[in-house]
Amino acid sequence: MDTLKYTLKRLGLMLLTLFIIFTIIFVLIKLLPTSLYDSLSAADKAKWDALGYNNPIIVQYGTYLKNIITRWDWGYSWNIKLGQTSTSLFLDRMVPTVLVNLFSFIIAVPIGLLLGILIAQKKNKWQDQVYGVVIIFFIALPSFVFAFLLQYFLAFQLGWLPIRMEPINLVSGWFDPLMLLSMVLPVLAMAIPIIASTSRSVRAELSEQLGSEYMLLARAKGLTKRQATFRHCFKNAMVPILPILIGMFILNFSAGSIVIERIFSIPGTGLLYLDALTTRDYDVFMVVSMFFVFASLLSGLVSDLSFSYLDPRIKVR
């Protein structure tokens, strides 16, 4: 019951924050110079006026909010795809982003976990020392450096993989072999930092747990090292790691991948955000920004809450 109450309270706070940010971004956008308006044709100008884009900001704010609440209407794209609702445009662009992120997580998390477990077993041996040096590079360097390296060597120099993502209209679908092949590089570039950070935290947590006294007990009562590690230590070690992973998973769907999307021309939400910004497509910009905000708030919330669900020792107030 306490947990439910706490969850509801956190949810309420999140919605409040979301609402405030919504208002701030809306006002900031509406205060921008409307250079887009001047570039429209006469018919579009009439549509623009009819939809009330020239009213005072406070009136527009009311209308916009009312449309969202009553009809889930977030406005229209004026530039990227004239006339399409910004929400449907956004949903279209979600597919590649979700796919690439999903693949990179599916690849990275098991590898990261396994690597962390292996290194934790070899604590203070030469493997651990080599790992300690190498991991500094992978943690400190942002994913786009790896993206550049991968793209230059694997795509430009060796020509093994496509340089950019295949445009969707040239292949049969998102799971076309050509499409999947062209996704390899971005997926790799995104997976490397995840592997690095996961394995590092698994190593740190697990090696701490391996030295604890319940482990001694488990071994004393006759469990093999493997049994003791996986049944006892691993579960405990995952308690602080899993929430971070969940948070990262949610967050990566938004702002984390814009750079990768730009490098590999993935037509995802990140590129949509950039397009909306550079072409001053304000309604689309609003939707994407709010999604980013929502994702970052949600990732914080979910990772906080999952702590208490995963670990019965942690009681929420």
Binding site: L13, I20, L28, L141, P142, F156, L274, F292
Partner: protein, 537 residues
């Protein structure tokens, strides 16, 4: 009586109890916390590595440009995309070129030797040309690749080209004064800058069409075509002995047809009006003259040194070495300013919140929640659109504003927790009882406890700011202002031509990676050093 008895007891029959268990006196001096931190910090290998990398980067960005012959304002469009020439690489690159281009580049060597041996009077063989100092083709494979190029009906060769000599000759329009200065410089230094002009606008006989045609535009623009061509595809006319037929501009005007203005120029440049049949080194265009200069020597004439750029040139012929140094300076300055301003702001806000608590704390907390919730990228782009594009503030200030808006939250939260922890401790209460004011309690007694974490946060915040700046420029959210180069601008520049000119992006990314590495290593070392649990270890 009793006293006497006591005096009579012999002292030697007594001995102290527990002398052996007497407390040992410390042989070493006590060590303060910061001294210990200092010692532990410098014991760590990563800390030393990080500090040396940062030191080297600072030396590079602040001191090295002073010892480098070129500056950041230099732009040499002729040498655009020049490869790095340093102690590791000689500035050459491999490329597959068409046979026409192969002949064109290879003939630069002949042309230079030809003029040194007085305009075609000596026969220069290709072998001699290949040994010339100005031969751009360093190595070529014998095999001819068939079906090369976009149209794929061209034959090509794989060669290794010197990117500095590749430029060869260029046409320049200069004033008559400069012409005379170059001539004087040529005499003093024994180097040739100005070479005979090419009769580039005359018609040529096209073997293919069996008729006279106008020369292709490439021929008239590229000063390396000093030889006669036989077809529109610019195949050189070769004599039987494989030597090239020169197409120099020959003076053939009659004395009467020369205008007075031209006469003056001829007299000034030549000492007299040239005879009919003389090969000209200049062509008069209005009050200036067009000349055909050997780019390599012309560069030496203007800059006093041979063209050799340690990191190569970018697409506009700007020197990457100096631009990267100034970009690094700019990025570090930005990051440090952001870190300092947000630290001061965060400490003040966090101290007040943590010390007083209550309503202020609650409100500030909500504001922080909102700020943390908004992606940096959204706010910086809105600030950019609102203030920078409209010209209200320069981009540098806009970036500082955008970053500080978020960065102070981290410091404030950190200081707040530390204040919460320490404000109820006995030593603070004792000081309060002795009459210390709040200000004294806050900054004399509690604040020093936060120093360690603050310094760590400071070191870790610098790579974060630089990364953000690089990302914003790379995504084209920020466009190049007039604020000079930053790491982000340089990386963005390089990314455009990454496939063909990897050296442009290589150096900025390498420096960026070093910054990320070193500051993260420094921050982690500082964190461990300041960790009270590790004391004495």
């Amino acid at each position: 009586m009793k006293q006497d008895f006591l005096n009579e007891i012999n002292q030697d029959s007594f001995e102290f109890v527990g002398v052996k268990e007497k407390e040992a006196v410390f042989g070493t001096k006590p060590i303060g916390f910061y001294r210990d931190v200092f010692k532990r910090f410098f014991k760590r290998k990563t800390a030393i590595v990080a500090l040396s990398i940062i030191g080297l980067l600072l030396i590079y960005s602040l001191i090295m440009p002073l010892f480098y012959p070129f500056d950041a304002t230099m732009a040499e469009p002729d040498y655009r995309f020049a490869k790095p020439r340093n102690f590791l690489s000689n500035g050459s690159y491999s490329k597959t070129i068409g046979l026409n281009e192969f002949d064109l580049l290879r003939s630069i060597g002949i042309s230079v030797l030809d003029v040194d041996g007085e305009y075609g009077k000596e026969l220069i063989t290709w072998e001699q040309a290949d040994s010339s100092d100005f031969q751009p083709i360093l190595k070529s494979e014998d095999t001819v690749l068939e079906g090369f190029g976009e149209s794929s009906h061209q034959n090509g060769k794989k060669v290794r080209i010197d990117s500095y000599l590749e430029v060869g000759f260029v046409y320049k329009t200069i004033s008559t004064d400069e012409y005379l200065q170059i001539l004087e410089w040529e005499q003093n230094n024994g180097k040739n800058v100005i070479y005979p002009m090419v009769d580039r606008y005359s018609w040529f006989f096209d073997d293919f069409q069996n008729d006279f045609r106008q020369r292709p535009p490439e021929y008239t623009q590229n000063a390396n075509y000093w030889f006669e061509i036989s077809s529109w595809s610019r195949t050189p006319v070769k004599f039987d002995d494989d030597s090239l037929q020169a197409n120099y501009l020959v003076f053939n005007q009659d004395e009467q047809s020369i205008s007075d203005k031209d006469k003056i120029i001829h007299n000034a440049l030549n000492g007299s009006i040239p005879n009919k049949g003389d090969i000209l080194k200049y062509q008069i265009s209005d009050n200036n003259v067009t000349v055909r200069v050997l780019s390599y020597n012309y560069f030496i004439y203007r800059n006093g040194t041979v063209p050799a750029f340690w990191m190569g040139l970018n697409d506009q012929g700007q020197d990457i070495f100096t631009r990267l140094a100034s970009g690094l300076r700019m990025s570090l300055l930005l990051a440090f300013l952001v870190a300092i301003i947000s630290m001061v702001l965060g400490v003040l806000v966090g101290a007040v919140c943590g010390f007083y608590g209550g309503t202020v704390d609650l409100i500030v907390n909500r504001v922080q929640d909102v700020l943390v919730g908004v992606p940096t990228i959204v706010v910086v782009s809105l600030i950019y659109l609102h203030f920078v594009l409209t010209g209200k503030i320069p981009i540098f200030v806009g970036l500082i504003l955008g970053f500080v808006l978020f960065a102070w939250v981290g410091y404030a939260r950190l200081v707040r927790t530390q204040f919460f922890r320490f404000k109820q401790q006995e030593y603070v209460l004792a000081s309060k009882t002795l009459g210390a004011k709040n200000k004294r309690l806050m900054f004399k007694h509690i604040f020093p406890n936060t120093l360690g974490t603050l310094i760590t946060q400071f070191a870790l915040a610098i790579p974060v700011t630089i990364l953000m700046e690089v990302v914003l420029y790379f995504l084209n959210i920020l466009q190049l202002g007039n604020g000079g180069a930053t790491l982000g601008i340089l990386i963005n520049e390089g990314a455009v031509a990454m496939s063909s000119q990897p050296h442009i992006i290589f150096w900025p990314v390498a420096v960026f990676a070093l910054i990320m590495l070193s500051f993260n290593m420094l921050g982690n070392s500082l964190r461990d050093a300041f960790d009270p649990n590790q004391r004495g270890k």
